[in-house]
């Protein structure tokens, strides 16, 4: 369905996407992870045809994507960008007018469910509510590919929970490719089917969530025991506290060793170890 073939995108001297080749076929919720400036938004804009690639080609359902031929079956709305200051009802109606596949019933049901005031004008809403409105508009589209860039930015814990429910409900009603970029890695894990991790414009991981959960683990114990156990494994990083050591492994699961303990690695930890970000990310 989606094919990036040796795609590079440069902004002057800066390379945002570097020779990216990726294929996405299955209808799933994909989680796009990467540090700030890793190229997540650029990737989404390229896919939506909002930007032209400097090199390489992008295909959606076999049709080549270009900035002039924006694919009709891709929906990408940025929450942080301005909208017309219409009443919410009008804004949704307008979105339906310009999108032939818009599911008005779903949009209205979500507006009711999340107790969003349809009579309010867009500019009077809080940032979180604006984001929720644009997310509802995106998900109400029956387009084959939905791109959500930082959709939970500005959401409190309750709104985030509601968002994940909305995402899951939309996907179960209409299975398709939904790509969500977020920094709240562990939260999205409950609904996402595949993780795409990019760093410096290049993919460092593109795997099914179950496979990742299986492969990402920690070995903790006495330093010598951990070193011996993890000798032939793909160790992402190690941490030492006194005579104890923790090895962060991304490899096939091993049997529980007698002198060390194996525990699951969270997606957040995996993300940090994979892209070498700071501990706050």
């Amino acid at each position: 369905m989606i094919k990036f073939s040796n795609v590079t995108k440069r902004y002057g001297d800066c390379t945002a996407i570097n020779n990216l080749t990726i294929n996405l076929r299955d209808k799933k919720i994909y989680c796009l992870l990467g540090r700030n400036g890793a190229g997540k938004t650029t990737l989404m804009k390229l896919l939506a045809g909002k930007l032209s690639a400097s090199e390489g080609e992008i295909y959606v359902a076999g049709a080549r994507v270009s900035a002039l031929n924006m694919p009709e079956n891709v929906r990408y709305i940025e929450a942080a960008k301005p909208q017309f200051n219409m009443r919410i009802k009008k804004l949704i109606e307008f979105a339906a007018d310009v999108d032939t596949d818009f599911d008005m019933k779903f949009a209205m049901r979500m507006i009711e469910k999340f107790r969003l005031d349809k009579s309010k004008k867009y500019n009077t809403l809080s940032f979180g509510t604006k984001t929720m409105i644009t997310t509802v508009i995106s998900l109400a589209s029956n387009a084959d590919i939905i791109l959500l860039d930082e959709p939970v930015l500005g959401f409190d814990a309750v709104m985030r929970k509601e968002f994940y429910e909305l995402l899951y409900e939309s996907f179960t009603e209409h299975p398709r490719i939904i790509i969500v970029s977020t920094h709240l890695v562990d939260e999205i894990a409950s609904v996402c089917g595949q993780i795409i991790m990019i760093d410096n414009g290049k993919p460092v991981m593109n795997e099914d969530i179950n496979s990742i959960t299986e492969k990402a683990y920690k070995i903790t114990g006495i330093k010598e025991a951990v070193q011996r156990t993890s000798e032939r494994l793909n160790v992402l990083d190690t941490e030492n506290i006194g005579k104890y050591m923790t090895a962060y492994v991304y490899d096939d699961r091993i049997e529980n060793p007698a002198d060390a303990e194996i525990t699951d690695m969270s997606l957040q930890e995996l993300f940090i170890k994979m892209v070498g970000g700071d501990k706050n990310e």
Binding site: G49, L51, L68, M70, E72, R75, E78, K81, Q83, N85
Partner: protein, 231 residues
């Protein structure tokens, strides 16, 4: 049908949002002209030269394309409008603007300016300046195509401003005006260009030249759309 629905929806938003600034500016100027005329009449000085109020409507094709190409473009892209839909919908906006202003201008000229000038007023408007008054056909279509040309030019220039060639075009225009106008020989060339385009007679020549230039200018947007970021 769906395509047409999209074009009309985008055009309607273009008419309704942001462009109100252009209507407001034009409206204030028209009202100011009418008030001025009323005061002149009350003061008994109706023979004083007065700019026809309809001429102020030309503010709309000068301001609205700037607002559409800059403010509305980003918002429309961000709600899911495709670039080609934007391109076609804006063309529809500009044709409707041109039609309305030309109709109002023509009616104002023949049913306000001419009758009032006969009883001693001294109205002078764009139609008189450009000499588009040989017939109703001339008055209407000369305005229509000239307004289309203004809008296509302003839209194109405003749209290009995010790229280096937009700035280059600005500098080029400023350079032509500042270099050509003071030097008599070059001024002659400039005059020749305008005489053959804007002031060309018979009317059909002017109408065709304006129409062709408007279409060509507007079509160049397809080149910029390729490079312009979606929002």
């Amino acid at each position: 049908m769906n395509k047409q629905k999209k074009y009309f929806a985008v055009s309607w938003v273009n008419f309704r949002y942001t462009t109100w600034i252009a209507y407001l500016a034009a409206g204030i100027c028209v009202i100011a002209m009418i008030v001025d005329l009323f005061v002149d009449t009350v003061m008994g000085s109706k023979d004083i030269f007065t700019i026809s109020p309809y001429s102020m409507l030309y503010i709309i094709p000068l301001i609205a394309p700037v607002l559409i190409a800059t403010v509305n473009y980003g918002k429309l892209m961000n709600i899911g409008v495709k670039k080609k839909t934007f391109f076609s919908a804006c063309a529809l906006n500009y044709v409707i603007f041109a039609l309305i202003i030309s109709i109002v201008g023509t009616l104002a000229y023949y049913f306000v300016d001419i009758p009032l000038n006969k009883i001693g007023y001294n109205f002078y408007g764009i139609i008189d300046i450009f000499g588009w008054n040989t017939s109703i056909f001339d008055t209407f279509f000369s305005q229509l195509t000239f307004i289309l040309l203004i809008q296509a030019t302003v839209h194109t220039l405003a749209f290009m401003q995010t790229k280096w060639y937009g700035w280059a075009a600005d500098i080029l225009i400023a350079a032509v005006v500042s270099v050509f106008t003071p030097i008599p020989v070059l001024r002659g060339a400039e005059m020749f260009f305008f005489e053959k385009t804007m002031f060309a007679r018979p009317a059909i020549i002017h109408i065709l030249i304006c129409l062709i230039m408007a279409v060509l200018f507007y079509l160049t947007n397809l080149l910029y759309l390729r490079h312009r970021e979606g929002n």
